[in-house]
């Protein structure tokens, strides 16, 4: 309780009231598809973890956009995730150690927390030429994944690259890149998106901390709480679609009126994600709100199957 009190005092000093915080927990609980009776428990996860669950975050063939996305998390703030909620044992973008000290950290964490850590993977794995197109500390991504992933309690693939191969796996896929599940022949929890909304990672982790298990998944390994409906089904412009009110040129009167982007190539009808509901950057906006069609970035192989992006489905 003392820790919880301190937690709220600190929130308060940052101008975040207990009420705001509870509002976030309610939002998160709803996003996860849990009943409202879970709200206090969700709050507890953030306020007073006993031992912070260890996380090993691996970077493979990626652009770091998924890590950057997580850095934009505002409820909880990233410093709280790192200092008070999780124990981020290895993460190349933020860790202080470098070189062999960094390698040592990875090795130590995997041994010490064998069977207990959450492994988050960002990026695809090069498989051609003995995995030679992508290495860290002289080891191929493939070797590292084979070593670390089987020892994790759970593996979460963040972003479309680790989930399904993503951009490096787009045709002609010069390095033979694959998603983690594909490269290792295992089932993973996938949070696709380019990058995905950090709220869905937070929701997945909270689910794990709260219930001791991963959330319910669809056949592509995506949590149903986030990927259960199409963009089209939840789009605020849906009524314009039903009324045959379409944008046919960017910058037009119809664009200014916020008509449906279907004829501009919107992939919303074929894309499962909660962008329209959760929105990005603390609910500021999402691509369709900014007048741009959805490019289908959370679907497998979207760089090939959804292109050319500006042609009608």
């Amino acid at each position: 309780m003392e820790k919880e009190k301190e937690f709220y005092e600190r929130l308060n000093s940052k101008g975040v009231s207990r009420r705001d915080f509870m509002k976030f927990c309610t939002f998160l609980t709803a996003t996860m598809g849990l009943s409202s009776s879970f709200v206090p428990k969700v709050a507890e996860v953030f306020a007073a973890p006993k031992q912070r669950p260890p996380v090993v975050w691996l970077h493979f063939g990626e652009c770091t956009g998924c890590s950057e996305g997580l850095l934009r998390s505002m409820y909880p703030w990233i410093d709280e995730l790192v200092l008070e909620i999780l124990s981020v044992e290895y993460h190349e973008t933020i860790m202080a150690a470098a070189g062999h000290q960094a390698e040592e950290n990875l090795h130590n964490a995997v041994e010490k927390y064998a069977g207990k850590f959450i492994c988050v993977v960002e990026g695809a794995i090069a498989t051609k030429f003995n995995g030679g197109y992508g290495k860290v500390a002289g080891k191929s991504f493939l070797e590292i994944a084979q070593e670390v992933v089987p020892k994790a309690a759970a593996t979460v693939c963040i972003g479309s690259c680790s989930s399904f191969g993503g951009i490096p796996a787009a045709k002609p896929n010069p390095g033979g890149y694959k998603g983690v599940g594909d490269a290792l022949g295992i089932k993973t929890l996938n949070l696709p998106g380019c990058p995905p909304n950090p709220i869905n990672l937070v929701g997945t982790i909270v689910n794990y901390l709260l219930l001791g298990k991963l959330p319910a998944l669809d056949e592509l390994g995506r949590p149903l709480f986030a990927y259960g409906k199409t963009i089209h089904d939840t789009c605020p412009r849906r009524a314009h679609f039903e009324n045959d009110e379409f944008v046919e040129e960017f910058g037009s009167e119809e664009a200014a009126l916020g008509y449906c982007l279907y004829k501009m190539g919107c992939r919303g009808p074929e894309t499962y994600n909660n962008c329209a509901v959760a929105k990005f950057n603390d609910g500021t906006s999402w691509p369709v709100e900014a007048g741009h069609p959805c490019i289908g970035c959370s679907q497998p192989d979207f760089w090939d199957s959804m292109t050319p992006f500006y042609e009608e489905l």
Binding site: S67, R72, N105
Partner: protein
């Protein structure tokens, strides 16, 4: 031959970078910079719709998000011959300015600061003295003994938990750390505050770009965010710009000067010789004349003799990259192929990197904040020159101290002030247009059967160029030469070192097992390696011959 040390992975960067150095007499005498990943986005682009290219290339890097997208749409616009409306130009400048503000703050605090700031030492600071120090050097909105005490307690309970996470096993206590405990505590507190500030600053991108990272509102011909040209959205953007700029002026710059004052010796370490800036932020249709950050080349540190820049003088050399051999070529005529095997890393005797070696004429040139600030300084830029002069005066160091690791890190802060201030002017112009009823954001155009184009930008990490060749309405060839390729590229056929390799030579190393000093200079360039590795293969179906050395 001296002792060789390898730092791999270089952490607190984007991408997979390996640095190897040779040490003799306590100093670096030779260095090799190696990019360790190859994805081949340009190969992937061939045969695709030129309108889609910006989505692909933006995924080169999620840290320097937005920048490749804007270079790409500019390259296609140049090829198809469309002039975008003034509002689109202003919105792109604003999104780009926001990227500078965000990127440079994150670099200083989260990627670079721990090379200078010892967090463990902060535990022994006196919170009262820290508060006094902070009051003296900065106008930070938070402070006081209670504040610093609570930050210190927070670090303490973190350390006491025994789970040190990302702060474990670093070079804490290294003799090259010079800050007193109080300065370390102040900087650590601001490291945490900056983590929150950057999340807010990124909302600027979401306002006119739908999201961040990887905003999604650019299109060839303009920008789609027409509905966001509303008073509430513009006001929200302005408010966030000001809040961020307030942090830059009251916290970032004072911290930069305070930390720099303890590390003045780094004003003589880590310098390079030639500097290239494409310039950016067009303020009319005229380029390069109207660019707020100017275009220019400085050879042999002769800031007074600024040279004009022509994109035709850019070439890339693959002598030491893992590619099939060939002459150095301009991006439009480049025919380069990755070796079809597990690459062998042979620094000192052969190929050692996925990066190519870009050259301007024959010059290995540094790009980035220092190059931009030196070019602007050489031009007598009305905003940059006084900022540089007053900073040199405050730190009591000569102009030559700019050619260094310290100079590079300072230049990054100074341009953040200038560009952040300028954003207010662009906001003002945008508002005036909207008020006058001009909400035009897009200019229609038609895809030609054949065309060539290029887009030159100067992005947080330096000069960025995209080149496109269109045939049959599809991408025949696409290439980009990016900042980290300029800075972190290898030797060329004449044996001339890349800028980072050059900058490391002469660096003192106190403890070869803990090469903190290498990280300082490497990080001062803000490496971003995923986008630095790329290749062109004009015929993806061609069977590429294995070239074994």
């Amino acid at each position: 031959m001296g002792k060789r040390i390898v730092v791999d992975p270089i952490t607190r960067i984007e991408g997979h970078l390996r640095i190897e150095v040779e040490i003799a007499g306590g100093k670096v005498v030779n260095a090799w910079s190696s990019g360790q990943m190859f994805r081949g986005i340009e190969m992937i682009l061939q045969g695709r719709d030129p309108r889609d290219a910006h989505h692909f290339v933006q995924r080169s890097c999620g840290v320097c998000t937005y920048v490749h997208a804007v270079s790409s749409v500019r390259a296609v616009e140049n090829a198809v011959g469309v002039k975008i409306p003034a509002n689109a130009r202003l919105l792109r400048n604003l999104l780009h300015g926001a990227q500078y503000q965000h990127d440079h703050i994150v670099h200083f605090y989260h990627l670079h600061a721990l090379d200078w700031v010892d967090i463990v030492s902060a535990l022994s600071a006196d919170p009262k003295k820290t508060a006094a120090l902070a009051d003296n050097v900065s106008e930070a909105p938070w402070g006081g003994t209670a504040y610093y005490k609570s930050v210190q307690n927070r670090i303490k309970s973190f350390v006491d938990s025994g789970q040190l996470g990302p702060f474990a096993n670093a070079y804490w206590g290294h003799s090259a750390y010079k800050l007193p405990p109080e300065a370390n505590l102040m900087a650590t507190a601001h490291y945490i505050e900056a983590l929150r500030l950057q999340a807010k600053a990124a909302r600027m991108h979401a306002i006119f770009g739908g999201k961040n990272p990887h905003p999604q509102s650019l299109v060839v011909g303009g920008i789609t965010a027409i509905r966001d040209l509303s008073p509430d959205r513009i006001a929200e953007f302005l408010y966030l710009t000001r809040e961020t700029q307030d942090f830059v002026k009251k916290v970032y710059i004072p911290d930069l000067l305070a930390v720099a004052s303890f590390y003045k010796d780094w004003g003589g370490i880590g310098g390079t010789t030639n500097f290239l800036a494409y310039g950016d932020f067009p303020e009319t249709d005229a380029e390069p004349e109207s660019l707020y950050m100017p275009r220019g080349l400085i050879a042999n540190r002769d800031v007074g003799a600024l040279k004009p820049v022509d994109q035709a003088s850019v070439t890339e050399d693959v002598t030491y990259g893992w590619y099939e051999k060939g002459d150095a070529k301009h991006p439009w005529s480049g025919e380069t192929k990755p070796i079809q095997e597990d690459p062998e890393y042979r620094p000192g005797s052969g190929q050692y990197t996925w990066l190519k070696a870009p050259r301007y004429e024959d010059l290995s040139s540094e790009v980035g904040p220092l190059a931009r600030v030196l070019v602007a300084y050489g031009k007598g830029h009305k905003d940059i020159k006084p900022l540089v002069d007053s900073t040199l005066q405050k730190l009591d160091v000569p102009v030559t101290a700019l050619f260094s690791t310290l100079g590079r890190t300072a230049a990054r802060g100074l341009e953040t002030i200038a560009i952040g201030n300028r954003m207010e002017t662009w906001m003002g112009e945008l508002l005036a247009n909207v008020k006058a009823g001009d909400t035009s954001t897009y200019e229609p155009w038609e895809m030609p059967d054949k065309a060539q184009g290029f887009g030159l930008n100067d992005v947080p990490r330096g000069a960025l160029g995209h080149w496109i060749d269109i045939e049959g309405g599809k991408i025949k060839n696409y290439q980009y030469v990016v900042p980290s390729t300029w800075n972190f590229g290898p030797r060329d056929s004449k044996g001339v070192l890349g800028p980072v390799e050059e900058s490391l030579i002469g660096t003192p190393i106190a403890d070869p097992k803990k090469p903190l000093e290498i990280l300082r200079t490497v990080h001062s360039f803000d490496p971003c390696i995923a986008c630095a590795v790329h290749v062109i293969d004009p015929d993806s179906n061609e069977v590429i011959k294995v070239n074994v050395l």
